[in-house]
């Protein structure tokens, strides 16, 4: 009887010891997370927040849509992080190309008028042109391709948006229809719009000055138009010019 009790006692002791040592062994390994737990934590982390896109992604999408609808061909977009300026939310640089400068003036109009709530504004841009030998215009000359680099900013409030956008657009539209434009530069630092190109018999300096006087856009403080020499083409004389139009900051 006593031996039986002892045997049971010993077996119980063995199991207890085994359990104890197994528990000790388990306690050594660090606490780990299974994948299901990882997924759950990740989901909780996501669900704890509202469905919200970042301002950068939203702005880039919108500008891309506007460029498409204006007929500009997208080349490159570069967003370089948040601005230190508290009034500016986003600043991104875009490169487009087009054969028709009208498309660019339409794009400026879009940023000025078509994006209420986003407060977008073209703060500076640079348009350069190059000849494209693969496309020949009806008069036998190689057509031009305009490369556009524009810095578009998104502001906190509407008050910060550039008020002269409509004027820039109107001037570019008029000049692209009337003259042969080589370059357009808007400098952000001094709000100065510079255009270079060539006057022809159809569009002369006189007509340009009349346009500026007639338009009298808000914010224009003055302008200078200078001509330099001339070049001859079949049936016409071209006069290269440089126009600088100054705006209120």
């Amino acid at each position: 009887m006593f031996n039986k009790i002892n045997a049971v006692f010993i077996i119980a002791l063995c199991f207890t010891s085994a359990g104890l040592f197994t528990a000790c062994g388990g306690g050594v390994s660090a606490k780990m997370l299974p994948v299901s737990e990882v997924s759950r934590l990740a989901r909780d982390f996501d669900e704890g927040k509202k469905n919200h896109k970042t301002a950068a992604a939203e702005t880039l999408s919108l500008i891309k849509e506007m460029a498409d609808s204006s007929g500009l061909e997208f080349i490159k977009a570069r967003y370089g992080g948040e601005m230190n300026n508290p009034e500016t939310l986003i600043s991104a640089e875009f490169n487009f190309s087009t054969r028709d400068l009208n498309c660019f003036s339409n794009f400026i109009d879009e940023t000025a008028c078509g994006t209420h709530g986003f407060n977008l504004s073209a703060s500076s841009f640079c348009v350069t042109s190059r000849k494209d030998p693969s496309h020949v215009s009806p008069d036998g000359r190689a057509s031009k391709i305009y490369n556009i680099t524009a810095v578009i900013k998104r502001f906190q409030s509407r008050a910060e948006v550039n008020k002269n956008l409509a004027a820039y657009s109107a001037i570019i539209k008029y000049c692209s229809l009337k003259y042969e434009i080589s370059s357009v530069i808007l400098s952000e630092s001094n709000s100065q719009l510079s255009l270079s190109g060539s006057f022809s018999l159809k569009g002369t300096k006189k007509s340009f000055l009349e346009f500026l006087r007639g338009l009298r856009p808000d914010g224009v403080t003055g302008w200078t138009v200078s001509e330099k020499g001339f070049e001859t083409r079949p049936h016409q004389i071209m006069i290269p010019f440089l126009a600088e139009i100054f705006f209120d900051k």
Binding site: F2, N3, N6, F9, I10, L13, C14, S17, A18, F21, T22, C24, G25, V28, S29, A30, K31, M32, L33, P34, V35, E37, V38, S39, L41, A42, R43, F45, D46, K49, K50, N51, H52, K53, T54, A56, A57, E58, L60, S61, K64, F74, I75, K76, A77, R78, Y79, G80, G81, E82, A92
Partner: protein
């Protein structure tokens, strides 16, 4: 009475014998010191890691182990390795297994990166590193989510947006960087939108989308490169 006494003499050696047998079977106990020591944890962790790697077809090309000791003494060692993998499923299956089998925790992973360049063996090359920690750090809440963001982002690229991942980089607590390409600009824009939805990230540090002409493709190819700061 004498029977009782003699049985007691029997019981004590028997108990000792059984305990000895149990100790002998339970290697953990004998290896107690080795297991808790840095060398022991390191050896066991690397061994398990290599087993999982071979199970998922991951080739460990080069490995570096550095013993580290921070001021708090929580970091046991740092492991860095170059790997070759067949596809994303194999790579993320490997990491999932590491977490599932408690070999590494998501908060221990330091970097995961690949330029998605194929080696001579026809596999993609990449690398990852981790700090083995003694215990969970106080600031580890976002890490499982961050890993999930990377996994979802890389998988969704080809599955949902039909775009190709050219490069990805993940740095714990800090950022995710992805370079991808597609024949369709809208696919890339949608991918950027997807990535920024649901407050997955704190903000984008930079985004560049560029149209490139490759004679090889005989058409335009759009390349997206972005870095996002993690929340």
């Amino acid at each position: 009475m004498s029977n009782v006494k003699s049985s007691r003499f029997l019981i004590i050696p028997l108990i000792c014998f059984f305990i000895f047998i149990i100790l002998l079977n339970n290697k953990n106990v004998f290896a107690f010191d080795f297991k808790t020591s840095t060398a022991g944890i390191e050896a066991r962790c690397i061994e398990n890691l290599k087993e999982e790697a071979s199970r998922h077809g991951i080739i460990i090309v080069k490995e570096t182990i550095k013993r580290t000791q921070t001021a708090r003494g929580n970091e046991l060692f740092f492991f860095e390795t170059a790997v070759e993998f067949k596809n994303f499923s194999a790579l993320f299956g490997f990491f999932d297994s590491l977490f599932e089998n408690s070999i590494i925790n998501p908060y221990e992973i330091e970097t995961i990166q690949s330029e998605m360049l194929k080696t001579k063996s026809g596999l993609y090359s990449g690398s990852f590193s981790f700090y083995k920690l003694r215990s969970e750090p106080a600031f580890a809440h976002g890490c499982p989510a961050h890993y999930q963001i990377l996994k979802d982002a890389v998988r969704a690229a080809s599955k949902s947006f039909n775009i190709k991942i050219n490069k990805f980089y993940y740095l714990r607590y800090n950022r995710i960087s992805i370079k991808a390409s597609s024949h369709y600009m809208n696919g890339l824009m949608a991918y950027v939108d997807f990535f920024s939805e649901n407050n997955r990230i704190e903000r984008f540090s930079d985004i560049t989308i560029e149209k490139k002409h490759y004679k090889y493709y005989n058409s335009a190819l759009f390349v997206l490169d972005f870095t996002a700061a993690l929340r």
